[in-house]
């Protein structure tokens, strides 16, 4: 869709309301997309990195543009060009937020790794929101050539802890036949801003996608993660971790689309809530008639750390093939008092004991993260949230 067409759609649509199924528990009242300005000039600040790693390629995106800090030989790691025909192949401007991105995005990154290329060190892109009352719509286009292997880490950060801004990101990922992509998405934005992120991957035959999603920041956010298992034998694994406190509202909306035979998907989300925070986790496993031999799993577990916190969990299955194994599990619970008592009887303070239990709660999700520095950084970030 052209920018002009997207602008038209944007003008015609209103913001989704809670009467729409995907928005039942996320109320956008108070959000005025047009009140956030598409700023021309960034006001960069020193932002401590969440993960410190030796990157093969690194880029920064802010309101002023894209800065390629380092790009490895043999791949495309460059600003995304508006003319690129692959833009929009996976994400349609179906609602006002997606249309806003399609109409107004200025800066984006193209990551294209040719067939057979393997990168030992990860690629990294940091999207920095730096302007108060600014709107930062960005795009990522990731193309993993056949049998390529690499890791891409994206970070969403703010220049200040109290920055009120709007970030709206669209990520399209094509995983070629036999390729293996590790995609890590870390969101630790200011707790004053709105954040929307639509992330959609398409997996070809025998490809593998290992995805980590961490949601820590924002005032109110919604993150969509869709995986189309389009080629036979494709496998996707998504590990999500979130922690919401204060009055944060974090919404994760996942879709496992099995459209080809013998495809596997395994989504596991763990979240902790404190204070008056709200989380929404929504998941759907959809198995098309031709996707015989599907093995699909989804899990969402929530740990409530205070009485006013509020978790919503809406798993789902739509199964149109019969030779399948599909299951899901969802729980909402609290810190086990017996565990707490046991630990405190061993001399731990209530805070220490709770921290240990919360760490244990996240351990299963963290253990699925293959790269140790990422695992450690996330462990630390989660622990920092427990007073």
């Amino acid at each position: 869709m052209s920018r002009a067409a997207a602008k038209k759609v944007y003008g015609e649509l209103s913001l989704p309301t809670t009467s729409e199924e995907g928005w039942r528990f996320t109320d956008l009242t108070g959000l005025d997309l047009d009140a956030y300005e598409l700023a021309g000039e960034a006001r960069p600040a020193e932002i401590a990195p969440l993960v410190e790693l030796d990157f093969a390629g690194s880029a920064r995106i802010d309101e002023s543009g894209v800065e390629i800090v380092a790009a490895p030989e043999g791949i495309v790691f460059a600003p995304l060009k508006e003319k690129d025909k692959r833009i929009g192949a996976l994400i349609e401007p179906g609602d006002k937020i997606a249309a806003a991105n399609a109409a107004f995005w200025k800066h984006g990154l193209l990551v294209e790794v040719p067939a057979g290329v393997e990168l030992e060190r990860p690629l990294h892109v940091r999207i920095e929101s730096t302007v108060a009352n600014g709107s930062l719509p960005t795009r990522l286009l990731v193309v993993a050539g056949e049998n390529s292997r690499f890791t891409l880490i994206e970070e969403h950060v703010s220049a200040a802890d109290d920055l009120d801004a709007l970030t709206n990101c669209a990520v399209e990922i094509h995983v070629g036949a036999g390729a293996k992509l590790e995609f890590v998405s870390l969101q630790h934005l200011s707790r004053q801003g709105w954040h929307f992120s639509r992330q959609h991957a398409r997996l070809e035959r025998d490809s593998e996608l290992d995805w980590v999603c961490a949601g820590l920041g924002s005032k109110k956010s919604k993150t969509w993660i869709s995986n189309d298992l389009a080629g036979a034998g494709a496998t996707s694994r998504v590990t999500g971790l979130y922690f919401a406190d204060g009055s944060q509202h974090l919404d994760f909306d996942t879709y496992q689309e099995h459209a080809a035979p013998r495809t596997n998907s395994d989504f596991l989300f763990r979240g902790a809530l404190r204070d008056e925070a709200t989380t929404v986790w929504r998941g759907m496993i959809r198995v098309e008639p031709e996707a015989q031999g599907t093995d699909a799993y989804q899990e969402n577990r929530n740990l409530l750390l205070s009485r006013r916190a509020h978790a919503n969990s809406i798993p789902g299955l739509e199964i149109l093939a019969n030779d399948v194994r599909c299951s899901h599990g969802a729980t909402v619970g609290q810190v086990d008092r017996e565990q707490l008592f046991y630990l405190m009887s061993r001399g731990l303070s209530a805070g220490e004991a709770e921290r240990l239990i919360v760490s244990g709660f996240f351990a299963e999700a963290l253990d699925r993260i293959e790269r140790e520095p990422i695992r450690e950084a996330l462990t630390k970030a989660l622990e920092a949230r427990i007073p």
Binding site: S306, R307, R308, A311, G316, N322, R325, G329
Partner: protein, 469 residues
Amino acid sequence: MNKPETDVSQIGRDYKYGFHTTDKPTFSTGRGLTREVVETISAQKNEPAWMLERRLEAYEHFLTRPIPTWGGDLSRIDFDSIFYYVKPTETEAASWEELPPDIKQTWDRLGIPEAEKKYLAGVGAQYESEVVYHKLQEELVRRGVVFLGMDVGLREHEEIVREHFGKVVPFDDNKFSALNTAVWSGGSFIYVPPGVKVEMPLQAYFRINAENMGQFERTLIVVDEGAFVHYVEGCTAPIYSSDSLHAAVVEIIVKPGGRCRYTTIQNWSTNVYNLVTKRAVAQKNATVEWVDGNLGSKLTMKYPAIVLAGEGAHGEVLSIAFAGAGQHQDTGAKAIHLAPNTTSVITAKSISRGGGRAGYRGLVSVDHGARGAKSKVVCDALILDEESRSDTYPTIRVHEADANIEHEATVSKIGEEQLFYLMSRGLSEQEASSMIVSGFVEPITKELPLEYAVEMNRLIQLQMEGSVG
């Protein structure tokens, strides 16, 4: 041990209640729904003015309420072709012999008088819009138990009806509760006094006979403190080429320490839209159990709900759905925890075959203040062939940290290892799959009253497994 008479591929194919008789009703409002139809129904019943007001208010709401776009396809319901009120007889009979021969013959063929003699404490039988037969054991009448058709219940116990009618399911709860409130006719009214335990089930049987019939029964059950009742309902209809509509509302109030079990064996013919709102309120330490079997109908949208309003209340839903060719069972359950230490267990099983679509749609909600609430939901689905479909749409909302909520669901086909094992022991594939399906639904079937062989046992054991085991 008998040989299985049919295999699993026969589920839903062999509908033996598809006959109809050609009796002439004594009164009908004709096709379609207008304000006059609502007024006529009320006038026919000689109702108090407040009930007519409720009906008209609901009718206005029905007109403005959009048709739901979720669940099943409701776009093909032709509201103008439906008969909203058909009165089959002038009076309610107290013995089967008093009924017109055609109607009596229908009940005989369904085996109801026979069942009544053997193991039921009371029977109500609704034909089209009206309850045509009603009887309760005299012993229970003496102990103060009330089991009447809803219309008679309104006449004889107006105060109780007025107190509770529309309180558990408000008219504007959904489009079909509005429709029911506007044109309701028939259904059961039950009151069980404090401490009285009705040991044998009370049964209501709902029969649609005419083509394009709309049946809108309304049931109100009030179980007083420490009392118990088990209510069983069954439903069948003839097979016609055009559709009928069944939109019932059931309201249950269980007072402190009371218990109510409500069992439904829904076996409408596959031309019936079955759109039912069922909800119970459980007060302090009360128990509500819904046993909900959905085998028939074209489309069923039904999610029996329990509002756990009093401390220590317990709710249980056992749900089973079969969807065969042309059927869509959008069934489920809701547990709303409002009070501390309330518990709920929802077990749902579904089987789809022959292009059918079966699903679970549910809600577990824990309000702030419902400390110590616990809920466990387990949904399992079997898909027997490539054309069929299974859906699971649960929603979990928790506003209280001191709560433990679990949900799990699995969708699979019949396990090849299980099949292989059974076949290696000499069973045919058909026998083996019958046995597996039978084992799959057993947690629900074993909860049915042992004596209640009339519907569920016949359908499941005969059609699916013969009498294996």
